[in-house]
Symmetry: none
Subunit: 218 residues, 2 copies
């Protein structure tokens, strides 16, 4: 999953990035509203963390423009503590959740997870396909009840597929959602990791649709 952070304050931005990366997300960050708006329009994110107090273009404006342009990705808004009006305005402008600063990283991660889950239309934090279960809270994967050890990258790939069960996911889409901005687009890593996942979880789990991409059975 790939996240965009729009936050001008360098310390907080760095801290956020670290938290998210160690939770297994691919992270891009923007330091002002303009850059944030641009990235949000251009790149494919599974969620955005948006600070409302920004230089150049205000956070609310950015959010509003995204929504008007038809971008539907979940947005988690960061507000100053007890800034009730900000919160209301944010929800009005189309925020999906909000969090008052300061906050604990666990809470951020939890909310983010919930956001992404809701966006993909899943009710529980446990995703199931065939004999495979993936718990997004603990990051554990089991096959027929037996725990399976996954590496970070394998997990990300599998998780994205399971979030989009039934849909045909192109290689490009996978690359866009698993890696951040600068990544060599013609490389066969995706194939390699698909192979590795199949080796661990069985060959039937992931179906290849030749020329289009991969798909997980509903």
């Amino acid at each position: 999953m790939r996240i965009l952070i729009v936050e001008d304050e360098p310390t907080l931005a760095r801290q956020l990035r670290q938290t998210l990366e160690s939770a297994g997300y691919a992270v891009d960050s923007a330091h002002d509203g303009e850059e944030g708006q641009y990235l949000g329009e251009t790149e494919a994110y599974d969620a955005v963390i948006l600070d409302l107090g920004l230089p150049e273009v205000d956070g609310l404006t950015v959010l509003d423009r995204w929504r008007k342009a038809g971008h539907k990705m979940p947005v988690l808004v960061l507000t100053a503590r007890d800034s009730w009006s900000d919160k209301v305005a944010g929800l009005d402008a189309g925020a999906d959740d909000y969090l008052a600063k300061p906050f604990q990283s666990e809470e951020l991660i939890a909310r983010l997870r919930a956001l992404i889950r809701r966006a993909s239309g899943n009710a529980s934090s446990e995703l199931v396909a065939g004999g495979v279960r993936l718990d997004t809270r603990s990051g554990r994967v089991t096959l027929d009840g037996e725990p399976v050890k996954m590496t970070a990258q394998e997990y990300k790939l599998l998780s994205y597929l399971m979030h989009h069960k039934g849909k045909v996911v192109s290689r490009t889409e996978l690359i866009e959602h698993i890696y951040d901005q600068d990544f060599d687009r013609d490389s066969n890593t995706i194939e390699v990791f698909i192979t590795r996942i199949r080796k661990k979880l069985g060959a039937d789990l992931i179906t290849t649709i030749r020329g289009l991409g991969y798909s997980l059975q509903g």
Copy 2:
């Protein structure tokens, strides 16, 4: 389906081509207005993506000339962000849709699909003929409810026929819309694929009109 890209900026042009090709379109590209105009007049496209800011001949001029010459293919105009006047002028000159740069590839594909669908007079993204259903979004085909596996080329051919249900489609037309510029025009591939499609979906679906081409029942 075959698309013409008229875009002078090499990076964007390449990126567009890649996106479209991986979505299964045949792509030609022109790097300035003159070339674009020529191709648009000469070749048969199912849609055109036209950047307004072009060297040599301006995009609007090109569009205007096409329309005056009676070319009716759907045109998706790319405008600079918030360039309201461009948008208005574009729509005046006969653009069918517009998209502000920058944009996400997914959105481009979605709009293109909508454009082509509208042009062929279909309301939904699902095309039906006899017991055969084709969903242009997911790229799946079913016969009497049963999913049928189609190869990329078979799918393209079928899709074109279904978009032009009832009309008699000549072999030349099929070649022009399924392959891009450089393709050997005297080859019997079309016949081969027609045979294969009939084998998968039943012989009655596609009628041969001797000397003219093929046709799908309304």
